[in-house]
């Protein structure tokens, strides 16, 4: 235990480093919020301020006037929630099998999972497009959900496998000794312990799908189906010219669902992250 103790200056240094890192992470978001509320002259000021001198909601008004943000957010929400639910539903039993029955197949599956994360989007998009076209799933949110599930499944599987391994097998053995059947053990013993991991994994799948741009851009053909990241690019012109105020306002709104979900599930996620941190 003594090895974990640190001196007060060292601890202060750690806290300072942590604080600096948090500030570093928060700066872009704070700047986005600040920009969203600035009127055009302040956006073009040579001496930008963190807090708008003359805050305005004009950027939000303009953003909603010019683009169907609510419809796009609705599409994004449907795609992200569906992708998260399906990914977790598929990955959980697979993760259990991979974690509990170690063997060549499980190792090969894990290896494939790792490799699949290295595939660039651009490599898979055309075959994927053609397959979805033959299935009549181009320009449908269902097709997009399918892609998101397939895309997030390897990482979800990888995450969940770690969480399953963190649940001591001895607990399941004890339940079996007490007379619980396989299904009862899974439902009453293992599943509750996996909840934090499942929530964290679902959140990962949700955020991945919520933020995804390129698949949505390529697969969704009509304005009614477009998701929020695609609609956000409508505030951008050629060579990176941007309608900065409305773009910031819309981008700020686009980050809110992720923040809300994180906020609501924070405790469960933290629990999930800590699960398995200590070896039994």
């Amino acid at each position: 235990m003594s090895a974990l103790r640190t001196s007060r200056p060292a601890r202060c240094g750690q806290y300072l480093a942590l604080l600096a890192y948090l500030v570093f992470l928060a700066l872009p978001f704070l700047w986005l919020v600040s920009t969203a509320f600035k009127p055009a002259p302040e956006l073009a000021s040579l001496h930008p301020t963190w807090i708008p001198k003359d805050p305005t909601l004009d950027n939000f008004r303009q953003a909603f006037d010019e683009q169907p943000l609510l419809r796009a957010a609705g599409n994004s929400l449907v795609a992200a929630v569906a992708a998260a639910v399906i990914a977790v539903a598929v990955a959980t039993p697979l993760a259990y099998v991979t974690a509990r029955h170690r063997g060549r197949l499980a190792s090969a599956a894990t290896g494939w999972v790792v490799i699949s994360q290295a595939f660039p989007f651009v490599l898979v998009i055309i075959p994927l497009f053609l397959i979805l076209k033959n299935l009549h799933l181009v320009n449908s949110v269902s097709g997009l959900v399918l892609v998101y599930v397939v895309w997030s499944l390897p990482f979800a599987l990888w995450m969940l496998t770690g969480y399953v391994r963190a649940v001591p097998a001895e607990l399941e053995e004890a339940a079996a000794v007490d007379g619980a059947g396989r299904l009862r053990t899974l439902v009453s013993v293992t599943a509750p312990l996996l909840v934090p991991g499942i929530v964290a994994t679902a959140l990962f799948a949700f955020v991945t799908a919520w933020n995804e741009f390129f698949f949505a851009l390529v697969l969704l053909k009509t304005p009614e189906k477009q998701t929020l990241p695609v609609v956000l690019t409508h505030f951008l012109g050629a060579e990176g010219v941007a309608d900065l105020g409305p773009l910031a306002a819309a981008a700020f709104l686009a980050t809110l669902p992720s923040l809300v979900v994180f906020g609501l599930l924070q405790r469960r996620i933290t629990g999930g992250m800590l699960a398995g941190a200590v070896k039994s």
Binding site: L46, I126, F129, G240
Partner: protein, 431 residues
């Protein structure tokens, strides 16, 4: 590289999945065409939507579905759509993005589809930007020259001669005036700010004014890079302004045009070379009382000549309704409509009749200056050079960036553009 990966995967995917034939006949007798537009500014989107509505109201048998696309990733999106047989019928893009699609057979040859009126209305120099091989694969309809946007008060107070399209500054005069201006402005302020986040197109397009060409097509059709004295004029001027004269700040070299506007509004820079359409941002964002003016870019031996890559409208080769799509283009690009589109985008129409519209010749917001240089706009030098994107990304962009910042000299710039550049182009021209 990205394009090659896409092309290869496309080929494999097509082999693996096979192609399915679409059903061409409309079920309800109404032809529906998908028009993907990249218009993004409110006025421009409004103009596009209104024109589509007007067409739809008068053509119940041919309805246009307006889809707003995005300049971001448009090439990859279109490539995927073409390979998947799901491309929009009518495609908005820029002429310098069309070569791959034209040579790849994705776009329809418009020569027999377009009406004589439209063919005659747009000058041959503009058609050159969308001509690949024998065919014409897009209608060039909007273009923008690069101009000098200037702080009127600073320039008038300095007493320098203000250039006009009839009497523009020469590049050497521009350099001298920048020196004089910087001296009077005082410390921390500069005559000019060069936003050169994408230095290649600026250098090549403005380079035409001095007679620079860089890309030379040989008798056998091959293109080689040669860097002559004329090619060195514009890059040399920028280099000297940043490195030697200090009349242009080094800090803006990595910036986009929008990034320089706060400094411009604050009087830190007297002039900023920008695309003509940037006037909209300036009109919207300039602080109250800020007076700005539009000056023609400096001229060289070739006068005000500049390279441009116009915005274009094309028809997908796979579209079963090419005639209907061409009829829509004819309507969409009527002179009065082209004027509406040009005003919405703060750009210049390519059409001769539209360009003659009085509203595009007012002094207000610098329209007249742009209109006056319109006839000197030529296809961008690299317009149809295969391998240009790779040459630009791997060779020219880093070379120009290093040259402008003073990290390498003119000889090294020349070596890289020519020796390294020709090596890249040769790979695309092997027979």
């Amino acid at each position: 590289m990205r394009r090659r990966i896409l092309a290869l995967t496309a080929a494999f995917a097509l082999l693996a999945t096979g192609c399915t034939a679409g059903d061409d006949a409309p079920e309800d007798g109404v032809v529906r065409l998908r028009f993907q537009s990249l218009a993004w500014q409110k006025e421009s989107v409004d103009a596009n939507r209104q024109l589509v509505s007007e067409w739809n109201a008068t053509h119940p048998d041919v309805q246009i579905d307006y889809v707003q696309g995005s300049w971001d990733s448009v090439h990859d999106q279109l490539l995927t759509s073409f390979e998947g047989g799901e491309a929009p019928d009518i495609i908005h893009d820029a002429s310098d993005d069309l070569a791959d699609f034209a040579y790849g057979g994705d776009l329809a040859d418009l020569r027999t589809l377009l009406p004589a009126r439209l063919r005659a209305d747009i000058p041959a120099r503009s058609w050159e930007t969308t001509t690949f091989g024998e065919g014409i694969y897009g209608v060039p309809f909007l273009q923008e020259p690069r101009v000098l946007i200037a702080n009127r008060k600073i320039l008038e107070a300095s007493g320098v001669r203000l250039p006009t399209p009839e009497e523009p500054w020469t590049w050497s005069e521009f350099r001298q005036i920048a020196q004089d201006l910087t001296r009077t402005l005082g410390s921390g302020r500069y005559a000019v700010a060069w936003p050169l986040k994408e230095p290649v197109s600026v250098s090549l397009n403005l380079g035409l004014s001095a007679g620079g060409q860089l890309f030379h097509r040989e008798a056998d059709g091959r293109v080689t890079v040669r860097f002559t004295e004329a090619d060195a004029v514009v890059p040399g001027t920028i280099h000297e302004q940043v490195v030697t004269d200090r009349t242009a700040p080094r800090t803006t070299l990595g910036s986009g045009g929008s990034d320089t506007l706060p400094g411009f509004f604050a009087g830190r820079y007297a002039m900023v070379p920008l695309g003509f359409a940037y006037r909209q941002q300036i009109a919207q964002q300039a602080p109250e009382g800020f007076e700005w003016t539009v000056l023609p870019a400096p001229a060289g031996d070739a006068g005000l000549t500049q390279g441009v890559s116009p915005q274009t409208l094309s028809i997908a080769e796979d579209s079963p309704y090419k005639k209907e799509a061409a009829a829509f283009l004819d309507f969409f690009l009527r002179p009065e409509n082209m004027v509406r589109l040009a005003r919405g985008d703060w750009m210049l129409p390519t059409g001769t009749a539209a360009l003659a519209d009085p509203s595009l010749h007012t002094a207000r917001d610098g329209w007249a200056t742009g209109a006056a240089v319109a006839e000197r706009l030529r296809p961008a030098p690299a317009q149809s050079v295969r391998g240009y994107p790779e040459w630009k990304d791997k060779v020219a962009t880093p070379a120009f960036q290093e040259y402008y910042s003073g990290a390498i000299d003119g000889a090294e710039l020349r070596r890289r553009l020519v020796t390294d550049g020709n090596r890249v182009l040769a790979r695309y021209q092997r027979k």
